[in-house]
Symmetry: C2
Subunit: 208 residues, 2 copies
């Protein structure tokens, strides 16, 4: 399998964690989002959205990080990343979607770019926008977490796979984590696991 | 089961379609988003995000439309809404996430409100923002659709469940659908099915 990604992309980061948790081998191909490589004719042939990640497999091409993660879980069920009975799975997916549908999409690169370039929003207002959505999302998440080492679980799952890249991103934007002690603990705990360490942006071949 | 929703919420609309496709009985409770009922103390006890939908079941409370849809599929596997083998399921989920992670989140009520109230964006610029993300997302989707009556499928799936409410919303914002003939055909075809008709905003008890 080959993963097209970018070291700092949260969505690519999720898939790297999932592949590592499942101990699957994969190659990486870097798509530099800052240089606009995601919009090249060649890349858009494999990813019509012009986004990362893309996973190429012996079945074909798959885009969208959560679709890749669900497919990995169905295809390689060992070392489950959506563990438990169907109700537990639902709770873990719910936490994952709270990050991937309600926090990440409003704060990703292309949206922040639009704010600056099309709406001429100031740097301060852009940072406030970023922090507003993180604060809204993390406050709700924090209220749903218990005291287990991972998100509502003894083992890492799709919820941690989505949460860790989002916290990494929030820390880059200097979000203060003191209001979110449970999230912060889980983040630190995840980052002691090899699967998360090996997936971290700074450990990718294209890291700057 | 009881569904807390709002007639015009795309996310609640998705769950109504899913419940109808599975021919499951459910009650509805209206949360008026324009009146801010989603932020009441009482509602936040069942949905800490202060968003709709919420589904209450004999197992407990579940939030996040996609988590509800996946749980319905696992719990009531008949009349599958994620049909096919694992590769087909992955493709259908990918289309669903392109709507639910990349289009809907940047265009929903709370984001448009923030643009107007916090960033003092003009009505014109807000409409342009809305249309930009619809156009970006629909252009990519259109390129991935084939000529089947539903999204890449002979039967309705999670992809149509996400797409139809988004098209409904786009039409409210007067998006011109001529650039997206396949999406438009699928939308019209879905809206001839009872499950979609009964889930439509105008057919809900709280419709204005």
């Amino acid at each position: 399998m080959k993963l097209y990604g970018y070291f700092r992309s949260s969505a690519a980061y999720r898939v790297r964690i999932a592949l590592n948790l499942k101990e699957l081998d994969y190659q990486q191909s870097a798509i530099n989002l800052l240089k606009g490589e995601q919009n090249s004719e060649d890349y858009k042939k494999i990813n019509p959205q012009g986004l990362v990640p893309t996973l190429t497999t012996d079945k074909g091409i798959l885009i969208q990080s959560l679709a890749i993660i669900e497919w990995l879980e169905e295809t390689f069920p060992e070392r489950s990343i959506i563990p438990g009975d169907s109700w537990k799975k639902a709770q873990l997916r719910s936490l994952a979607y709270q990050v991937s549908c309600d926090i990440h999409p409003v704060n990703n690169l292309r949206v922040l770019k639009y704010l600056q370039q099309e709406l001429a929003v100031s740097d301060d207002a852009k940072t406030q926008w970023y922090k507003h959505w993180i604060h809204t999302g993390f406050t709700a998440l924090e209220a749903q977490l218990d005291d287990q080492p991972f998100c509502c679980s003894e083992q890492p799952s799709i919820a941690d796979i989505c949460l860790v890249p989002q916290v990494f991103n929030a820390l880059r934007f200097k979000v203060e984590m003191t209001d979110f002690p449970k999230i912060h603990e889980i983040y630190k705990h995840c980052n002691m696991q090899p699967a998360f360490i090996d997936a971290a942006p700074e450990n990718q071949p294209d890291a700057v």
